[in-house]
Point group: C2
Chain length 207, copies 2
DNA sequence: CGAAACGTTGAACTGGGTCAAGCTGTGTGG
DNA sequence: CCACACAGCTTGACCCAGTTCAACGTTTCG
């Protein structure tokens, strides 16, 4: 996913920046000058309503590219969920990129298509799934992307999970507790560490 | 949005196909050989769960491009909501497109970025908005895209609207009736024709 | 004209939200 | 080092918005 090395006209390619947990990478309405690739850590991208209701459309883990915009301003906010390092790319290479950097443009297109597929899956989840199905899908998704096997630390808090899945933090908590009672998972270390003890049953909670 | 006229290597560019209301353009799991642009009519793209719960991620109106995939198979289904004509493009021009057709690739990228932005808006709607807010946003969105002013025909049925907004058809119906009582809209011709009599109040139901 | 599909309305139920309290670990300052 | 404050998480009780189930009206089409 990195741009081809040694190519010309690739301004600021891969310059690194580090953010502490809670820091804002960019906010809705700001000029969309850059897009990003996660080097390490976790980023959440979200939108707010005027009364502070929030929807986190995606968590971006190591290797994920985000921040695509074609208009001048970001239409969403990005914040570091934990201490995070990202690679920054100037968006100026967006217009005309297909001409200047066809190989990189292809990669960007693939990343966008992948984002779109994930977005569609998430719309199905938000619109039509039960809390148990939402949590099961979320845990399996994160586990698959973290690549750490069946025991892993959730980088985000309950409120973030809730705002991602269209639930309240209370429902997230209750559902996790219920799943532990049912032997599907184990909660360790104040609920931040998760062990998937019955992946088959979790998978059965999906389509 | 049309591909540059007279360019070489643009296989099957813009070939037209017509579908009757209810017809399937393609189904989830089929080889993703084409992508599409709506010439006239309306297309819905959706995903199904095993028990027939359905999420319509988007309605595609005149001029909209849809059906982007980078993997081999479609991950969603597309059906004609009403009698519809589309322009068909071979997906083979996807890989390497950036090299062969940079201008068209740029347009495709813009279309994808726009789809992503719409998807994020819709996730906020699905995860965090009330039925009244959902319907208000939906009506304003459709009105804006149809470009027919404040009186227009909804191309889709109540069930489609419900499966798009994460509601039941009964709640859609009740909310529309309520909005008519409140003087926000008028329902004409069996509820298929809508007149937005108080756009300001409808807009107030958003962010 | 009849049947079937779509839309509306009503009544009752319930899942998940809301509100509130308690719990747990962590960090801070005396 | 301990006491305290605070933030995050869990748990409980209550309640209501929106679903479910059912009936009825309306339009369309064969």
């Amino acid at each position: 996913m990195a741009p081809p090395a040694g190519t010309r006209d690739m301004p600021a390619a891969g310059e690194r920046r580090t953010f502490a947990a809670g820091d804002e990478l960019f906010a809705e309405g700001q000029p969309a000058d850059f897009f990003y690739k996660v080097v390490s850590g976790t980023v959440r991208t979200s939108k707010l309503l005027s009364d502070a209701r929030r929807q986190i459309d995606s968590f971006h883990l190591q290797g994920d590219i985000f921040g695509f915009e074609s208009t001048s301003d970001y239409s969403f906010t990005a914040e570091a969920v934990e201490d995070t390092t990202v690679a920054v790319f100037r968006r100026s290479c967006f217009r005309g990129l297909a001409h200047d950097q066809p190989a990189f443009a292809d990669q960007l297109m693939s990343a966008m298509v992948a984002s779109l597929r994930r977005a569609r899956d998430h719309m199905l989840l938000l619109g039509r799934k039960t809390p148990h199905e939402k949590i099961a899908m979320f845990l399996l998704d994160i586990a698959g992307r973290l690549q750490k096997g069946d025991r892993f630390d959730l980088p985000m808090r309950r409120t973030d999970i809730a705002d991602h899945l269209g639930l309240t933090k209370e429902t997230v908590s209750r559902t996790l507790t219920q799943m532990e009672r049912d032997g599907l998972i184990k909660l360790e270390a104040i609920g931040r560490t998760i062990f998937l003890s019955d992946k088959a049953s979790l998978r059965r909670l999906n389509a």
